[in-house]
């Protein structure tokens, strides 16, 4: 299972960011969240980002303590906080910026899908975050990339919001 993030649906409300921080640290500190939303770009788009549990996980491969590893049963890449020394090698290895150093805890943390019950999914009102089986997500991702290539002038924000509203009504 992975978290599938739909940037077309994201409204940038940041509930997932705060919700994650509260669920995992007990504090509404956006800096300690394991999911991020990039707000910017020319069209005022929002790009939600968190760990995609890469099939070839550079973070786990690079970790010198093997604190960062894939769990056999779930296939989810986790960081064992007991073993992590905060060396930040995984942070350099991950091209998506998914692991982050938690200054308070003194270790590196990343999204581990809340033990199979991701809190961000429940909080995301527009339904931009879903927790799906790997096959389905890679299919949808591939389709989306193809769509985007065919249609380089992406939809305007207004169009996206209309589409979201339609989805919410449905």
């Amino acid at each position: 299972m992975v978290l599938l993030l739909d940037e077309e649906a994201c409204t940038g409300c940041m509930l997932c960011v705060l919700g994650c921080a509260i669920a995992r640290t007990g504090e509404a500190d956006a800096g300690r969240s394991r999911i991020r939303v990039y707000a910017g770009g020319e069209e005022g788009r929002f790009v939600p980002l968190t760990c995609q549990q890469c099939e070839e996980a550079f973070c786990a491969e690079a970790c010198p303590t093997k604190a960062c590893h894939r769990e056999d049963e779930t296939g989810i890449v986790v960081i064992d906080e007991e073993r992590c020394i905060g060396c930040r090698t995984c942070i350099v290895a991950c091209p998506f910026g998914a692991p982050s150093f938690d200054e308070v805890a003194g270790v590196t943390v990343k999204c581990d899908c809340c033990d199979g019950d991701p809190q961000c999914v429940k909080l995301c009102e527009p339904g931009a975050i879903s927790f799906v089986a790997v096959d389905e997500s890679s299919l949808r991702k591939r389709r989306d990339v193809a769509l985007r290539r065919l249609q380089p002038a992406a939809r305007t924000r207004a169009e996206r919001i209309r589409a979201q509203e339609a989805r919410c009504r449905a």
């Binding site: 991020r36 990039y38 690079a62 303590t65 093997k66 930040r88 090698t89 995984c90 350099v92 910026g97």
Partner: protein
């Protein structure tokens, strides 16, 4: 001979070697795999030895493998053995205990050893400390408990980490540095000055720059370090960090081409068929600069080992090239260096864009060659080091938001956006 299991020999037992073994086993073949390691112990992480010195990591946590790991991977272990001679023509390897190993494919992943200081009295030379192995770390830890004045020769990553681990109230650490800055292999002068000031302020470490060591002698219970130019300092412990030398004495340069390391192509093959090299002993293509050099870091060692292992097991996989990178934390200040950063003599033809925020001790500098980002130094906030690294690796002129990166930590979304739009427009045209 048909039906005989292929014999694969792995020389080494660290990042590259372990990745290679896992890659070989991932192919599901029935190769007979033998691991030869000069150390008696199971594989451990040399990256962690400085953390062990600081007391952050207990010794048992250094280990990456236990006996069960090798059993699960079905490898035969020859630990405490050194390769003395490689006969590539006959595909056979001679070990120091006289054992002969015939192989169908061989991986040289022997790593590197600290470069020894020459021209010293044997007894003095034997007393100096180097840091690479777990045994080295144990020795430094033991000696540091009693030391009051420590001389560290060099100011590279290992030297600084060692100095930082030893320094404490009542223990004076002096770093004697040949060049004019710290981390001369990783940082430009400006950034090095920020790191130096931090280390001096937080750790009370003293630096003597532009000095070379003329002689080291015994003196009472410790050592007298004489510097060229006549200065002297007394120390009860001397740690030497003068870089590393690849472990390749058993390689016959007449058979296998070597320069600073064992030369490899993009499949990690040496000049001889069926002999591969990976990790700190290998000299291959630098993905950013195109130069053929030894790029020693944990991430590349893992990836090279994986590619070499897959190829040894019959696949045909290429390695896109090494990316110099290092991330370290000194007295709480994280420092990351990625790609070509104008350190050493590699500064020619590079321009740079700098952003800094002194009150938060953050400093960010991006290096460009003909307008394309080729390297970055991040100090203070390194949370986006992976995003910046990916941007540099895939850099095309105009696709990387340079100004945005030097202003402050960048979100992957910002880079992905620009890359997506670049690839989308390429796909359309």
């Amino acid at each position: 001979m048909t039906g005989r299991r292929r014999r694969l020999v792995i020389l080494g037992n660290s990042a590259a070697a372990l990745s290679a073994i896992r890659a070989i086993r991932s192919r599901g073949g029935d190769e007979q795999v033998t691991v030869v390691s000069r150390e008696e112990c199971h594989a451990y992480s040399p990256v962690l030895t400085t953390y062990y010195l600081r007391g952050v990591v207990p010794e048992r946590r250094l280990f990456l493998c236990d006996a069960g790991s090798y059993r699960d991977l079905a490898v035969e272990c020859r630990f405490g053995r050194t390769a003395v001679e490689l006969d590539a023509a006959r595909q056979r390897l001679l070990l120091d205990d006289g054992t002969r190993l015939d192989y169908d494919a061989l991986l040289i992943a022997t790593g590197a050893a600290p470069t020894r200081l020459g021209g010293l009295d044997d007894e003095v030379a034997g007393g100096l400390c180097y840091l690479r192995t777990i045994e080295d770390a144990r020795r430094i830890r033991r000696l540091a408990q009693r030391a009051r004045h420590v001389a560290v020769l060099g100011a590279g990553l290992v030297s600084l980490q060692t100095a930082a681990a030893i320094a404490r109230p009542g223990v004076h650490v002096t770093c004697v540095v040949g060049s004019r800055q710290v981390l001369s292999q990783n940082l430009d002068a400006e950034c090095a000055a920020i790191v130096r000031d931090h280390v001096v302020r937080e750790g009370g470490i003293e630096f003597l720059f532009g000095r070379s060591v003329a002689m080291i002698d015994h003196e009472a219970e410790g050592y007298r370090v004489e510097l060229a130019g006549g200065e002297e300092l007394s120390a009860d412990m001397v740690v030497v960090g003068k870089g590393v030398t690849p472990n390749m004495a058993f390689v016959d340069p007449g058979q296998i081409a070597v320069e600073r390391g064992v030369l490899v192509d993009d499949r990690l093959r040496t000049a001889v068929p069926d002999v591969y090299a990976a990790g700190d002993v290998a000299q291959g293509r630098n993905r950013i600069s195109g130069a053929v050099e030894v790029v020693a870091n944990w991430i590349d060692a893992c990836e090279q080992g994986r590619v070499a292992g897959l190829n040894m097991a019959g696949a045909d996989v290429t390695f896109p090239g090494s990316v110099p990178e290092n991330v370290t934390t000194l007295f709480g200040l994280p420092v990351a260096s990625i790609g070509s950063v104008g350190a050493g003599d590699a500064g020619a033809g590079l321009t740079s864009v700098t952003g800094s925020c002194p009150e938060r001790t953050t400093y960010r500098r991006l290096f460009l060659k003909r307008g394309v980002p080729v390297g970055a130094i991040l100090v203070g906030d390194v949370g986006d080091a992976g995003v910046v690294r990916a941007a540099i690796v895939r850099a095309e002129a105009g696709a990387v938001p340079v100004d945005r990166i030097v202003r402050g930590p960048i979100e992957a979304g910002a880079v992905l956006r620009s890359c997506v739009s670049t690839s989308a427009s390429t796909a359309v045209t």
